[in-house]
């Protein structure tokens, strides 16, 4: 008789294990869902493209001219839009400066050193292809001249207005071969046509610079590239061409030409209900401004409990650079000036056809569908500006993302961390400014001589140069906020709530399934096993007793 309980116990245990296995392995129940029809959020009545402006600029006599230069067009614009240039001259798009209201630090492209082309100083003729102005070729540029404000770069709706490196912010006035000796030609812009085709900024206008930052499509940001020109729903639910079809300015609402939503002044932790458009709004570009800080339905109320710790972007942008274009993850300037076996400069592409090496610029690493790195962020970043001291024994953080778990204005944000290596002054211990672009004898891309390039760059930046340089590791962190995926593609719970999940390196917050106390787990499992054992013993005794009595 004793043989039976002996057999029953292990069999029961195995049955329990099998049941558990089958339960875990059972295929997911197929939920019968009606296939959604391909519908457009744009009503048919307004789907037909037509002007929303009340003014047809092609009918204005002021614009019936054969304009020869960009400033001539601006002068014509200012005849009616009398305050426009003054407004623009107060914006970052014009000054390339930005003062941090919290710390007082003066940042902006003009002052910081970035991880890509490093600094526009001494390279203005090239870099100013992305300045909303004409003629900034060196430090003598007069920021008060109104006719030098470039209206067309943001408002041309022909899609033909193009500014090339090397022209100090002017468009192409005559047909030229570009790049030189490439056999490719760029046609002169038709300024009259552009001036008569004015409208609100389109994706083409914004994307001309913001999609191609750092000199290549998608290189800089990771969540901004030319795929957003005609995106599908999967790439961006708001910009989906067949859906909401948002332009950039739908979120980046402007006031007096000041564009909201700059990375220099990010609203990292907006709270409260959704805002009414038209009402004074400090951060119209933030998700919460439309969705509120409790965006999920009652059915998913638990998700709303995450909004005091997580940025919306953390779950809703599962990866960035979600296309074949990809984004640049590192730029190693120390490899620049390396020549090929024949002693001549050369270039190489990676397996996907993206720039991988160039003797002029160094080595790059690219990736598509990048998993973000997650950090606490309160909207404030402190930047390394030209002349700031560095510790070359450590990786130099070109911007330090502010915030932490105990800061109520902080949220966990997805970021792109761009790694690099760039020159610094060994004795003065600051990052150098180098003269890269140009055809003169000291330009790095012309004669491949670092000493001359740094010497000229530092002189333009008014900084002493010891004459000794080396290369230091650098990092630049970008909060990710574009390429919002459909809600069905938001991160699933387990991707964060697990030991090696996406948030494994985030400190200062307790996360079930990621964190735990070993002794508590041991006690819990012991209790569970004891309960199972007690049940089995109890059942066994009852079976044994009933048999004995019966």
């Amino acid at each position: 008789m004793l043989a039976r309980p002996k057999l029953i116990l292990p069999l029961a245990a195995i049955t329990a294990m099998l049941t558990a296995l089958v339960a875990f392995a059972a295929p997911e129940q197929i939920v019968a869902a009606s296939a959604p029809q391909a519908t457009s959020a744009v009503p048919a009545a307004i789907a037909v493209k037509k002007s929303v402006s009340t003014a047809d600029h092609s009918k204005f006599k002021e614009l019936q001219k054969n304009f020869k230069t960009g400033p001539e067009v601006t002068e014509a614009c200012l005849l009616c839009h009398t305050e426009a240039a003054k407004q623009v001259q107060h914006t970052k798009h014009w000054t390339w400066e930005s003062k941090d209201p919290k710390t007082g630090q003066v940042r902006g492209k003009k002052n910081i050193i970035n991880n890509y082309c490093t600094s526009p100083i001494s390279n203005e003729k090239d870099c100013m292809a992305c300045h909303a102005g004409y003629g900034w070729k060196d430090s003598t540029f007069d920021f008060s001249v109104e006719k030098n404000v470039d209206c067309l770069v943001c408002h041309d709706n022909t899609g033909t207005y193009r500014k090339l490196p090397g022209f100090a912010g002017h468009p192409v006035y005559e047909r030229i071969e570009f790049p030189a000796k490439s056999g490719k030609f760029v046609e002169a812009v038709d300024l009259q046509k552009a001036a008569q085709s004015i409208g609100m900024p389109t994706r083409t206008n914004c994307g001309a610079c913001h999609f191609f930052g750092a000199g290549a499509n998608g290189a800089k940001h990771g969540d901004l590239d030319s795929s957003l020109q005609h995106p599908g729903k999967y790439l961006d639910v708001h910009m989906n061409e067949k859906g909401l079809n948002f332009s950039c300015t739908q979120c980046h609402a402007t006031s007096s030409h000041e564009v909201s939503g700059s990375r220099y002044n990010t609203s990292a932790a907006m709270t409260g209900p959704a805002h009414i458009r038209g009402k004074a709004d400090a951060s119209p570009a933030a998700c919460q401004s439309c969705h509120s800080d409790k965006p999920h339905s009652a059915k998913h109320a638990l998700l709303n409990q995450h909004t005091d710790k997580l940025a919306c972007q953390t779950c809703h942008i599962p990866e960035y650079a979600r296309n074949d274009i990809g984004t640049e993850l590192s730029w190693d300037w120390s490899k620049a000036t390396t020549m090929g076996p024949d002693g001549k400069p050369f270039a190489r592409k990676d397996s996907a056809g993206r720039r991988a090496f160039d003797s002029k610029k160094g080595e790059w690493v690219w990736e598509s569908y990048v998993i973000p790195e997650y950090r606490w962020f309160n909207g404030t970043s402190t930047y390394k500006v030209i002349g700031d001291k560095i510790d070359p024994t450590h990786t130099v953080q070109l911007n330090v993302v502010g915030g932490g778990p105990n800061d109520p204005d902080s949220r966990i944000w997805p970021t792109k961390v761009h790694r690099g290596k760039q020159p610094y002054d060994v004795e003065n211990k600051y990052l150098t400014v180098q003269h890269t672009a140009g055809e003169d004898d000291t330009a790095l891309w012309h004669n491949y001589d670092w000493q001359k390039a740094i010497g000229t760059g530092m002189k333009a930046a008014n900084l002493p140069y010891s004459g000794k340089y080396d290369f230091v590791n650098t990092e630049l962190t970008w909060p990710i906020t574009h390429m919002v995926a459909p809600k069905e593609d938001a991160l699933s719970c387990v991707l964060c709530h697990s030991k090696n999940g996406r948030l494994k390196d985030i400190q200062g917050v307790y996360m079930p399934a990621r964190d735990g106390k070993h002794w508590l787990d041991v006690i819990g499992w012991t209790l569970a096993l004891l309960s199972l054992l007690a049940s089995l013993i109890h059942g066994g005794i009852r079976i044994y007793s009933s048999k004995k009595e019966g």
């Binding site: 292990p10 069999l11 099998l18 999967y234 397996s351 996907a352 459909p486 069905e488 593609d489």
Partner: protein, 182 residues
């Protein structure tokens, strides 16, 4: 007697559990790649072309594109398709095993996971082949040996360009067979 029968069934259950747990990993292999998705694909494609034995690329398929077209997202998944008539021929000529054409062309999957790393997935051709008789077993054994060469990388060599358009297999679809020869 009861002990013997009980032990027999217990053994069966344990065997079933083991088979259930490990069958997947025996039939298919997954290895981590030291490179990104595109470079892994390009290097595998290059290895396939250099392996000989009649191997030719027959397609590069992106199953994620259909998901994207439907408005959804997937991490990148790319299927490299290759074929060798030297190995496919004998199987396709034999009525009893011609159904194995379902395994053709040979596929190698390159994909990214949520840990950000790139992986290579492939069928364990050697083990699968043994289940279908000596001829198929021997043929698939050769395929398995070549498959191992496909994923041997030499990092000292520069990354080749990924071959996106395989002649005759632009979409990696039905036309794929034209290039690979099977």
């Amino acid at each position: 007697m009861l002990k013997v029968i009980g032990g027999f069934f217990l053994g069966l259950i344990v065997l079933g559990v083991l088979a259930y747990s490990y069958a997947g990993s025996l039939m298919f292999r997954e290895v981590e790649s030291p490179f990104g998705v595109e470079e892994t694909i390009a290097r595998i494609q290059q290895n396939i072309q250099n392996t000989g034995n009649g191997w030719a690329l027959s397609g590069l398929r992106n199953p994620g594109k259909a998901v994207e077209a439907d408005g959804g997202n997937t991490l990148p998944v790319m299927m490299i398709e290759a074929c060798s008539t030297k190995y496919s021929g004998p199987i396709l000529k034999d009525d009893s095993v011609r159904f194995l054409s379902i395994l053709m062309p040979c596929k190698i999957s390159v994909y990214k996971k949520n840990d950000g790393k790139t992986y290579i997935g492939m069928m364990n051709a050697g083990l699968m082949g043994k289940m279908f008789g000596p001829m198929v077993g021997e043929t698939m054994g050769h395929v398995a040996a070549d498959q191992a060469k496909f994923i041997q990388f030499d990092p000292s060599k520069p990354a080749p360009a990924m071959i996106k358009g395989v002649p005759g297999a632009a979409a990696g679809g039905a036309g794929a067979s034209a290039a690979g020869g099977c």
